[in-house]
C-alpha cells in the first residue's frame, strides 16, 4: 500500500524539480539554453506519462473534499485529520453521556414504577428479563 504512494511521490518530486529547473532556465534565457530547455520539456512529458501510469494503482483511494479546502487555504491538511479525530472523540463522549443518562433514568423509572405498580412491573420484568441496575 505504501509502495504505490512512494512511487507516485517520487515521480511527482522529479516532475516538480524538472519544472523548477525549467523556470530557472526561462527566467534568464540564453541561446545556449535552448537544447537544455527542449530536453526539460520532453522530461516533463515523460514525467506526466509516469504519473498517468501510477493513476491505475490508486483508483481505490478516496480523498475527502474538506481536506482540499485546507490545501486551497494554504493550511496543513493534517489539521483536517486532527479536527476529525477531535470531533469524533467529542461526539463519542456526548453519546456516551446520553447513554449513561438514559440508563440511569431507566433504572430509576423501573424502581419507581415498581413501587407504584408492583404487579405490572413484575409481569414486565418477566417479559423483558431483570435489567441490571446501572
Amino acid at each position: 500500500m505504501a509502495e504505490k504512494f512512494d512511487n507516485l511521490e517520487e515521480h511527482l518530486e522529479k516532475f516538480i524539480e524538472n519544472i523548477r529547473q525549467m523556470g530557472i532556465i526561462v527566467s534568464d534565457f540564453q541561446p545556449s539554453s535552448q537544447t537544455g530547455l527542449n530536453q526539460k520539456l520532453n522530461f516533463m512529458i515523460t514525467g506526466l506519462q509516469d504519473v498517468e501510469k501510477c493513476r491505475q494503482q490508486l483508483n481505490d483511494i478516496h480523498v475527502p473534499l474538506e481536506a482540499f479546502e485546507y490545501i486551497d487555504q494554504g493550511r496543513n491538511p493534517q489539521l483536517y485529520t486532527k479536527e476529525c479525530l477531535e470531533r469524533a472523540l467529542a461526539k463519542n463522549e456526548q453519546v456516551k453521556g446520553k447513554i449513561d443518562t438514559m440508563t440511569k433514568f431507566k433504572s430509576l423509572l423501573i424502581t419507581e414504577l415498581g413501587k407504584v405498580f408492583p404487579e405490572e412491573m413484575a409481569k414486565y420484568k418477566a417479559i423483558h428479563g431483570d435489567d441490571p441496575p446501572s
Partner: protein, 232 residues
C-alpha cells in the same frame, strides 16, 4: 409506557366520576376496558381480568400490556465504547492531537518550491477549480518533435518583472539567525558615533554606506573560504 398510563387513566374517566380508590392511582388491578374500544383480533382469546384488545405478537398474547414491543436488537458497538481504541487509532490521535500541528502548508511540504502558503484562489491554482472545471483527459502524452519544439524558441534576456516572482521561495527563518550570529563579528566602522545606536538611524546609514556593501562581499568570501576549509 406512557400509553399504558393513558389507557389506565382513560378507562376511569369514561366510566364516570368515581372515588379516588378506583381511579387506578393506588396499586392494584386496573379497571377493565369499555366495549367502545377497538375490536380485538380474532386470535386472542378473551380472559377474565384481561385488559382487552391489543396488536400483539403471538409470543406475548396473554400479557396485560398494550402495544408492548420487543426491545431492539442490541448493538455491540455503541457510543459507550471508546471508538478510538476500538479502531486502533490511539497512535494517530497522539500524533495529531498530542503534539502541536503546524498551521502552514509549507510545514507539511517543506521541499515544494514556490509560495504555497498563499490561498490558491489568488493565483488560480486551487484544487477546487480543478474539480469544478476538470482539464481535458484521455489523450495520450506524446513527446514533442522538432517541429513542435520550434514553438518553444525563446528570446534571450531576463523575464519581464510581472512574471519573475513565480520561482521565488519564501525566506527561510534560519538565515535570520545566521545574520544575527555574524553581526557581532563585524568590525565597527570609524564613522559610527554613540548617537548612531538608534536602530532607525542605523538602518538608513547601512543602506547608504558603500563601505557596508564592500564588507558584505568580504563576509561572503570569508564564508566560502570557511566552507572549503571544512571540506578539506
Amino acid at each position: 409506557m406512557t400509553e399504558i398510563f393513558s389507557t389506565l387513566f382513560g378507562q376511569s374517566e369514561a366510566q364516570g366520576p368515581q372515588g379516588p380508590g378506583t381511579l387506578g392511582f393506588a396499586p392494584g388491578k386496573p379497571p377493565p376496558l369499555p366495549q367502545t374500544q377497538a375490536p380485538a383480533p380474532p386470535q386472542i382469546p378473551a380472559q377474565p381480568g384481561d385488559e382487552g384488545p391489543a396488536a400483539r405478537k403471538p409470543g406475548v398474547m396473554n400479557e396485560p400490556f398494550y402495544l408492548l414491543r420487543e426491545l431492539p436488537a442490541g448493538n455491540d458497538l455503541t457510543g459507550n465504547t471508546n471508538l478510538i481504541t476500538h479502531y486502533n487509532l490511539e497512535h494517530a490521535y497522539n500524533k495529531f492531537c498530542g503534539k502541536k500541528v503546524k498551521e502552514k502548508l509549507s510545514n507539511f511540504l517543506p521541499e515544494l518550491p514556490g509560495m504555497i502558503d498563499c490561498p490558491g484562489v489568488q493565483d488560480g491554482s486551487s484544487l477546487r477549480s480543478l474539480i469544478e472545471k476538470p482539464p481535458v483527459c484521455g489523450n495520450s502524452f506524446s513527446p514533442l518533435t522538432g517541429a513542435l519544439l520550434t514553438g518553444f524558441r525563446l528570446h534571450t534576456g531576463p523575464l519581464p518583472e510581472q512574471y519573475r516572482l513565480m520561482h521565488i521561495q519564501p525566506p527561510k527563518k534560519k538565515s535570520k539567525h545566521k545574520h544575527r550570529h555574524h553581526r557581532p563579528q563585524d568590525p565597527i566602522p570609524p564613522a559610527e558615533t554613540p548617537s548612531d545606536t538608534d536602530p532607525k538611524k542605523k538602518k538608513k546609514k547601512r543602506d547608504d554606506d558603500p563601505e557596508r556593501k564592500k564588507k558584505k562581499k568580504d563576509k561572503k568570501k570569508k564564508k566560502v573560504g570557511k566552507v572549503t576549509k571544512q571540506k578539506l
